[in-house]
């Protein structure tokens, strides 16, 4: 418990250990810690940036998807329209064709009717003439009464 040279010994030792710490211990450890701090900060920044990039990419994907869907919808729409057009066209063509066929048939029918009527009339004239000849027993001059008979036939 007496003060003695231990005091000086401890002072010298203390100074030496301060110097050793100052020279060999403190700088490398603090430098490493500062570097780690920087690296962590950089890493966090990079992560932030990556996150932002990811967000951007996601947004782009969504945009592209929407535009693709829109395009697809447009194409389908057009196709539908074209299909309807084609059907309409086909219908129109069919109707025209039907009309044409109907008209041709009608004309043929008309022709046949008038021909039949003509034939019938001619046959009726002949029949009427033959009937009248039988009734009048040739008292009628064919030439004199031709006009009358013709008139009769026309009325049939």
């Amino acid at each position: 418990m007496n003060l003695n040279a231990t005091l000086i010994g401890q002072m010298v030792a203390f100074v030496i250990f301060i110097y050793l710490t100052y020279r060999f211990v403190w700088p490398p450890i603090v430098a490493a810690m500062a570097e780690r701090t920087k690296r962590i900060a950089d890493g966090l920044q990079a992560a932030d940036k990556a996150e932002k990039d990811l967000e951007l990419a996601k947004q782009k994907v969504v945009e592209q998807l929407t535009s693709a869907k829109k395009e697809a919808a447009a194409i389908i729409d057009q196709a539908n329209k074209r299909a309807i057009e084609i059907v309409e066209e086909a219908k129109e063509k069919a109707r025209v064709e039907a009309d044409r066929v109907k008209a041709a048939a009608q004309a043929e029918i008309d022709q046949a009717t008038s021909r039949a009527r003509e034939e019938l009339r001619a046959k009726v004239v002949t029949l009427a003439l033959a009937g009248a000849e039988k009734i009048l027993e040739s008292s009628i001059d064919q030439n004199a009464h031709n006009e009358l008979v013709n008139k009769l036939a026309a009325q049939l």
Binding site: A13, F17, Y22, V25, W26, I29
Partner: protein
């Protein structure tokens, strides 16, 4: 714990034995050697050395340096592992303390504070080793070397030796003077001592104030290292004495022995706080004193 084994020695002898340093110096007969008792050690005067506390102090200082140096050598900025975590925690702790208390630019303060914190902590922590363990080993070694078993003193806690604590405090004091003078100039430092707290615009009155100020300021300046060293010494010495007293109780009888053992454990647990706290206080006060040495008059 050994008190029971040595019934020949009384309690007071046991205490005295534990509180005496192993001192090397000039013996009364003129030769150099180890003192045989406390009185002989006191007679040796200043030029003697406490081999036990000095040795442990140097050993613990080396332990501190080698541990931290081994980490500093292979320190990486990757994920730290093992010892590096511990060392970095200490460095980080010291660094934040220095940064908050010492706002000036000096790269020496932080290493100084780290040295104090860890070294003083190690020295204090020697208190937790069973009180008789190392002295008994020393006694065995001493006796085998031919020494009188009652003359082998061995104090293992360096901070219970005022030489050790005051030695560190005086280095801090020298640094206070050094930084005061380099920062403020010799004149500025003297002005700080002589023109405060009383000052006057009248030069004659001011001259009269100078001795008064000096009387007020000088004790404050000198009290810094003394209080710094004695605070650490006092706390650890008191703790050590309590360990010794409880150890005597253990030797008394079986009931007191068990009581003493539990007390020893409780006191050791409580002492962990003191160990860390005193190391921290020594460091903080050193930083504060350094900061005050840097502070110029205008900032008062």
């Amino acid at each position: 714990m050994s008190a029971a084994e040595h019934e020949a020695i009384t309690s007071s002898e046991y205490i005295k034995h534990h509180l005496t340093n192993l001192t090397y110096g000039q013996l009364p007969d003129g030769t150099w050697g180890f003192a045989h008792n406390g009185a002989e050690a006191a007679q040796m005067g200043f030029w003697a050395i406490n081999v036990d506390t000095m040795g442990w102090s140097l050993f613990l200082g080396l332990v501190f340096f080698l541990i931290f140096r081994s980490v500093a050598k292979k320190v990486t900025s990757d994920a730290p592992t093992g010892l590096q975590n511990v060392v970095e925690a200490a460095v980080e702790f010291v660094d934040s303390n220095v940064k908050s208390m010492f706002p000036y630019k000096n790269t020496m303060i932080a290493p100084l504070a780290l040295t104090i914190l860890v070294w003083v902590f190690f020295m204090n922590a020697m208190d937790l080793i069973a009180i008789d363990l190392l002295p008994e080993i020393a006694k065995l070694v001493g006796v085998s070397l031919g020494a009188d078993p009652h003359a082998v003193f061995f104090k293992v806690v360096p901070s219970t030796d005022p030489n050790i604590t005051l030695g560190m405090a005086f280095v801090v004091f020298i640094l206070i003077l050094w930084f005061s003078i380099t920062q403020k100039g010799l004149l500025g430092f003297l002005k700080e001592l002589t023109l405060h707290p009383f000052s006057s615009s009248n030069p004659i009155v001011q001259t009269l104030f100078i001795p008064v100020n000096l009387v007020l300021e000088l004790p404050g300046l000198i009290a810094k290292p003394v209080s710094l060293g004695l605070r650490l010494f006092g706390n650890l010495y008191a703790g050590e004495i309590i360990f010794i007293l409880i150890a005597i109780m253990i030797g008394a009888n079986l009931v007191l022995g068990f009581f003493g053992i539990s007390l020893q454990i409780i006191w050791a647990l409580f002492h962990i706080l003191i160990i860390a706290l005193q190391a921290f206080i020594f460091m903080v006060l050193t930083i504060v004193y350094m900061s005050m040495a840097y502070q110029t008059e205008e900032q008062h």
